[in-house]
Amino acid sequence: MTSSVRQQLLISGVGGQGVLFVTRLLAEAAIAKGLPVFTCETHGMAQRGGTVVSHLKVGDYHSPLVRAGQADGLLVLKSENLDQHSVFLKPGGWVVVNAGRNETVSVPGTAFALDADRLARDAGNAKSLNLIVLGYALSVSERMKTSRSRLFCTLADVEDVLKNSFKSKDTQAAAFLAAVKIGYSALTA
C-alpha cells in the first residue's frame, strides 16, 4: 500500500462521451490498489449534451472537489473544454487532450494531443474515444521523468479493473480493453 500517493485529476468532456465511465474506471483502479479515492461527478440536466466534468482525488482528501490551480493532470475528451478547465491545472501539470491534427493546443502545462475521434472511427466504434484517451494518458504517464507526475495507476491496473470490478460480459470487457490499448499504443504508432 502506497498511502503517500496524493493525486488530483480532472476528466472533462460533453454529455454522452463517457466521462463518468473513465472516472469510475480510474476510481476502481485506486480501490483495487488499496488507495482512498474521492470523485465528484456531473449528473442530471448538464449530462444532456452539456459540458461534463469529473473531479478525481486519490489519497487522503476531505473535499470532493479539485481546486483551481491544483490538478496534477487533465484528461480532456473535447478540446473546446480547455478554455474552461485548464484553470484547474497546477503549474507544470499535464494535459492529455482529444484534438484534431490541425488544432493548436495551448495550456499552462505540458500538453499531449491525440485525435481520438479519428482513431475511434477507424476502429469502428466512435463511442470508444473516452477509453482511447485514457489509454493514451497511461502511455504518456509511463514516459514521464519524475514518478510524482505519473498517473497513480498503469495499463495493467486498468486491465485488472476491466476484468474484475465491472460485471460486464467478457466480450464487452475485451472491447473496452481493446480501445484502451489503441490509445496506449498510439504514441509508438
Binding site: I31, E41, T42, G44, H62, K127
Partner: protein, 609 residues
C-alpha cells in the same frame, strides 16, 4: 456483502438505510436525490431483505406512505430533491407535531449552484419552519454514518429527522466500508390507537406544539449530534464554523494554506436546532467568527449576538451560488489575514445541454411550432424543458404548471381581439405527479388550449425510473399499469388523440387538428407517444437504424439547425460561399426524423453500397 466499495453518496445513504434496519423506503425521482431509492432496491434484492421500496406518484404521497409506516413502529425513510420537499411540506409540517413511533428520516437533497434545479433553496430552512432537527453531512461516508445517528435521534425524541445532503455529497463517490445489514425480523408492525395524537384537533395540536418545543430544547443539548472541533491543537481567537461540504473544503484548505493551527475549526453536524452550549462557547471564546454553510445562513441566524460574526447575514459570504473551494480559499485567507492566490473559475460558459439525438420530444416540438407558430408555449419540469433551445418552450415554473399557466394565459387573453393559441407540454411522469388536478380544473373552467403529453414511457431526466403507466416497480416487480388515455378522459376531457412523433408528417397533421379543436372547443389533449431512446438503450432494445446523408440539395440555409437543433447536425459556415450541414455519425441515433424536416428535401436515406 462486505468490504470497501466505491459508493456514490446516494448509494452510501441507501446502504446506511439497510444497515440500520429501514423497513420502508419511498421516493419520487429528482436530481440530485434520484439514485437513493434505486440503490435501496438493489441492496434489497442483493441481500433478500424484507422491506417495501417504491417510487410514489409524487413527493407528498411518498412522504405520507413512509410516515404511516413509522407510525406502526417500523423504521422508514423518504427521499426527494429540495423542490420536491415543497410538494411534501404539507404532511411534513403536520408530522413534526404528531411525532413518530419508529424512526423516520426525510432525506432532502439540496442543489447549491444550482446545477439541476429551479431554486437554490435551503431545506434546512424548511426543517426550521417545521421545527424538525436536521443533519448536514460533508461526504458520502459521513452521510452513511448520519443515517444511524438520525434514526437514533428520531427514536430518542419521537420526532422526524431531516438529513440534508447537497449535490456534492449525493454525486461524489468514495471508498466506503460495507457493514452487515440489520436483521429486519423482530419488529412487527403494530398500530396503537391514539386519536389525540394521530388525528389531533386544534385543541390537541396546541398541546403537541408545546411538546415539540420541549423536544427541540432537549435536542439542542443532545450530545451525539453536537458540533465537533476538528483541530483541537490550534489555539486561536478566531473560529471558523462550517457545515456540510463547506466543512470538508475548509478542512483541506486550512491545512494546505498552512493556517491549520491559526484558526479554530468547528464542524456543525446538526445545523438546527443549533446546540445552545456551543452558541455560548463560541460567542464567549472567540473574537472573530466566520460561518461557512450552504445555501442560507441557518447556523448564523441562530447566533443571537452577531456583532463578531461574519457570514451570509453580514454580507461576507456570498448568498448566491455554490460555496466552491475557490471561494472558500479566498474567504479563509482573508479571515486569517494571509494573502492567497485568487483564482476564479468562470471561464467559458461551456456547452448548453440539449435533447439527445433521436429524442422523440424534438419531433413533438417541431410539430407544435408548425401547428401553432405564434402560440404561447407553456412547459414543465423534465428533459423537455430543453425545448427552449428550439423556441418551443416559453415558460417553466414548477411540476404541473404547464397546464395551470396555460389556463392563466387563456383567462388573461380571453377578451383580446385575437387570443393566441396556447399549447402546453408536459411529460408523462410530470403529468401523473401534478398535472391531473390542473387538467380537471381546465376542463371545469372550459379553458381553450391544447395539452401535448410527451409520453416517452419513463421518467427521463432523472435516469429512467418507471411511471405509473409502466406496470413495474423499482425492483422490476410487476405492478398495475394506469392507462393514460383513460385517465385523461376520466378528467373530463372529450378530445384525446394519440400519435407517434417519429411519423412526423402525420403527427404534424394531428397536432394541427388538436390545436384547432383546442382553440375553438376547450381542452384538447394530444398524447405524443414514443419511448425514450436512452431508456430503450438501457434495456438493450434498439429499433432499425435509419442511416441518413445530406445531398447536394443542401444550401446550408440552417433551417434544420435552428428549428430542429439535433446535436448530430453540424452547420458549416466557415466558408460563406459553401455553407452546408453534415451529420456527425458518432452522435446520430438513426431516428430518421430529419428526413422529414428539410424544406428542400436535402436529407435522404443513405444508399447501401
Amino acid at each position: 456483502m462486505s468490504g470497501r466499495r466505491l459508493l456514490l453518496g446516494n448509494e452510501a445513504m441507501a446502504r446506511g438505510l439497510v444497515e440500520n434496519g429501514c423497513r420502508m423506503a419511498t421516493s419520487y425521482p429528482g436530481t440530485p436525490a434520484s439514485e437513493i431509492l434505486s440503490a435501496v432496491a438493489q441492496f434489497k434484492l442483493a441481500e433478500k431483505l424484507t422491506m417495501h421500496v417504491q417510487w410514489a406518484v409524487n413527493e407528498k404521497i411518498a412522504l405520507e406512505i413512509a410516515y404511516a409506516g413509522c407510525m406502526t413502529g417500523l423504521r422508514t425513510a423518504v427521499s426527494m430533491k429540495q423542490v420536491g420537499l415543497n410538494v411534501a411540506s404539507d404532511p411534513f409540517m403536520s408530522a413534526a407535531y404528531m411525532g413518530v413511533k419508529g424512526g423516520f428520516i426525510l432525506i432532502s437533497a439540496d442543489d447549491p449552484g444550482p446545477h439541476s434545479s429551479q431554486t437554490e433553496q435551503d431545506s434546512r430552512m424548511v426543517a426550521m419552519t417545521a421545527k424538525v432537527p436536521v443533519l448536514d453531512p460533508d461526504s458520502p461516508r459521513q452521510a452513511k454514518e448520519m443515517i444511524g445517528a438520525a434514526y437514533a435521534l428520531s427514536e430518542a425524541f419521537r420526532t422526524p429527522v431531516m438529513l440534508r445532503p447537497t449535490t456534492r455529497v449525493c454525486h461524489s463517490r468514495q471508498d466506503i466500508e460495507l457493514l452487515p445489514v440489520a436483521a429486519a425480523a423482530g419488529i412487527e408492525a403494530k398500530f396503537d390507537r391514539d386519536p389525540a395524537r394521530w388525528a389531533a384537533t386544534p385543541k390537541f395540536r396546541h398541546k403537541l406544539h408545546l411538546e415539540l418545543e420541549e423536544k427541540l430544547a432537549a435536542i439542542a443539548a443532545y450530545a451525539p449530534t453536537a458540533p465537533v472541533r476538528l483541530n483541537p491543537e490550534a489555539s486561536a481567537r478566531k473560529a471558523v464554523v462550517a457545515a456540510g461540504v463547506a466543512a470538508a473544503h475548509a478542512r483541506e484548505i486550512l491545512q494546505e494554506l498552512g493556517i491549520w493551527k491559526k484558526v479554530a475549526l468547528y464542524q456543525v453536524r446538526q445545523p438546527f436546532p443549533l446546540h445552545i452550549a456551543f452558541i455560548e462557547h463560541l460567542l464567549g471564546a472567540y473574537r472573530d467568527i466566520l460561518v461557512l454553510e450552504e445555501t442560507a445562513g441557518v447556523i448564523e441566524m441562530q447566533l443571537a449576538d452577531r456583532r463578531r460574526v461574519k457570514g451570509k447575514q453580514s454580507g461576507t459570504v456570498p448568498r448566491v451560488g455554490e460555496l466552491t473551494p475557490e471561494r472558500i480559499q479566498a474567504l479563509l485567507g482573508d479571515f486569517a489575514g494571509i494573502r492567497t492566490r485568487t483564482v476564479t473559475v468562470a471561464g467559458a460558459p461551456g456547452r448548453r445541454p440539449t435533447l439527445c439525438a433521436g429524442c422523440p420530444h424534438r419531433a413533438s416540438f417541431f410539430a407544435i411550432k408548425k401547428a401553432a407558430p405564434r402560440g404561447i408555449y407553456t412547459s414543465d419540469i423534465g428533459c423537455y424543458t430543453l425545448g427552449m433551445n428550439l423556441g418551443a418552450v416559453d415558460t417553466v415554473l414548477c411540476m404541473g404548471a404547464a397546464i395551470t399557466q396555460a389556463a392563466g394565459f387563456y383567462h388573461a387573453f380571453r377578451r383580446a381581439k385575437k387570443p393566441p393559441d396556447i399549447v402546453a407540454t408536459i411529460g408523462d411522469s410530470t403529468f401523473f405527479h401534478a398535472g391531473i388536478p390542473a387538467l380537471i380544473d381546465a376542463v371545469v373552467q372550459r379553458v381553450k388550449f391544447t395539452l401535448v403529453i410527451l409520453d416517452n414511457r419513463t421518467t427521463g431526466m432523472t435516469g429512467n425510473q418507471p411511471t405509473p403507466a409502466s406496470g413495474f416497480g423499482v425492483c422490476g416487480e410487476p405492478l398495475e399499469a394506469v392507462d393514460l388515455e383513460s385517465l385523461v378522459r376520466g378528467c373530463g376531457v372529450t378530445y384525446c388523440r394519440t400519435g407517434d412523433p417519429y411519423q412526423l408528417k402525420d403527427f404534424i397533421a394531428l397536432t394541427k387538428e388538436a390545436v384547432a379543436h383546442g382553440r375553438e372547443n376547450g381542452p384538447a389533449v394530444l398524447i405524443s407517444r414514443h419511448p425514450c431512446i436512452l431508456d430503450r438503450a438501457r434495456k438493450g432494445e434498439r429499433s432499425a437504424f435509419v442511416a441518413v446523408e445530406v445531398s447536394d440539395r443542401c444550401n446550408g440555409c440552417g433551417f434544420c439547425i435552428k428549428n430542429f437543433e439535433c446535436p448530430a447536425l453540424i452547420h458549416h459556415t466557415e466558408d460563406k460561399d459553401h455553407r452546408r450541414t453534415t451529420i456527425d455519425s458518432a452522435l446520430c441515433a438513426g431516428c430518421g426524423v430529419c428526413l422529414q424536416v428539410c424544406p428542400r428535401g436535402a436529407f435522404r436515406t443513405k444508399k447501401m453500397r
